[in-house]
Subunit: 306 residues, 2 copies
Amino acid sequence: MKDLIIIGAGPAGLSAAIYGIRAGLDLLMIERFSPGGQVMNTHEVENYPGFVDPVKGWELMSAMENQARRLGAEIINGEAGAIIKDKEKNVFSISLSNGKSLIARSVILACGSANQKLNIPGEQEFTGKGVSYCATCDGAFFKDKVTAVIGGGNTALEEALFLTRFASKVYLVHRRYEFRGEKILQQRILANNKIEPIYDTIITSIEGKEKVTKAILKNKSTNEKKDLLLDGVFIFVGYSPNTAFLPEELLNTRKEVIIDKNLQTKIHGIFAAGDMRENSKRQIVMAAADGATAAMNAYDYLQEMG
Amino acid sequence: MKDLIIIGAGPAGLSAAIYGIRAGLDLLMIERFSPGGQVMNTHEVENYPGFVDPVKGWELMSAMENQARRLGAEIINGEAGAIIKDKEKNVFSISLSNGKSLIARSVILACGSANQKLNIPGEQEFTGKGVSYCATCDGAFFKDKVTAVIGGGNTALEEALFLTRFASKVYLVHRRYEFRGEKILQQRILANNKIEPIYDTIITSIEGKEKVTKAILKNKSTNEKKDLLLDGVFIFVGYSPNTAFLPEELLNTRKEVIIDKNLQTKIHGIFAAGDMRENSKRQIVMAAADGATAAMNAYDYLQEMG
């Protein structure tokens, strides 16, 4: 039986492992893909403190992974299913997709979230090369460049406004005639002369060579197609926390894990860290801090349990 | 007038600058010593995620500083005094010790905290070379080593228990006949056969060559002196947040800055990040995450203010 099982090996999970092992806990990590999480799809990271020049996403995560491994972390490949608590013994049983199950005295959930994809040609190919799902992360790379934001909700409007601080032009492409975001954001959008809304329109493909150079738009009423020359496409059509395997009682209406100030979920002994928890800003340094916090609190929990 | 002034250039302040500049804010940093904060006194950092091997404290902080500077951060040397809000204009005036003052639309406090020192010979000389103020940070470096913990409050007792996960022996040196920490911690201390309490005793000096090898203890009743051979001395006799220049209304009874879930203080437009705020666990990655969060929230605040 392990002291702690960490589900997910992105920044939150790896940081939890670093802190957990250094607190003397006997722990195990479970990851369904390869370690590193969503950052692996990020071309360059400029805002993780500690690196003078931008660092490649995979390089940063490979450093975190090797740091955890050097300290003794073991990462097994597998997908977690149900987590069942034996309330008599205060022990958790985690079933894996291969039919086996693991037993631990505490659990940290660090499964991240997934950006909703458009699933159009070029989207995956140019991710990190002009296609982005985070303006806070990548906006500063688009100084004096032409960009398009896809979406019409609050996030799309906020991120479009944010981008005007860098980009020379922000097309705001929305499939409906009206934005869903708050009125005050809509007003700011309309008052901003760098932003040009394009309504009733979808994006059908993203093109380029090394980097994005063009998007193809289609008007939904006329079916007319149009080329848009640009350097960046920011896609904000939603995201979903990777929480499908968790019981409803742990989640809010947005399917994020509900946590208290110690990052503990509604089940004593299960903690949540990073992008899958409520109120996450989906930033690497915040996920890493969450992981560290969750591990320190799991340690305290285990001490109390004796 | 600046959008944002950041007071303090440790991990929290530098991270706030990185995020603030990348959000397009015109900001300025004020630091009373040289940038880097308390981490500059840390020999090796093993738990900041992203570095496979332990990194020197000064190296990590110099990377953060240069990262902020490369993005355009300006750091001026100075000590902040009173912060006065012009409630009509929603503008802050910060007086400096040189008599000048600065004006900004928002403020992030990131001034850190200071460990209470024993002020005995060898303490400063061997800081980071066997003398530590943080078991979470440095405990893992003392596997199978002999250590002493100085203090008798909750932190001292918790950290002594934590150290038993690594050290072969933990002397717990306390100047009184009884510990101040919680009864349950006292019970765990007494039940742990790696811990040997030494009551009614102070430590008068720390000796060694490259690293600590010895502590000199003095019994307070008999004045008898005694050598204690050891590898590490962990000092937990209190710490104080650097908040003396702030108005009482912003602080709790422990003189830490009170914050809401957005890291905003009781004064709208002033945020606090890192070790000086309440409920801080005083870890680098958490301070850095705080700085990033405070900067993102300062950006939102400025957007709202228009």
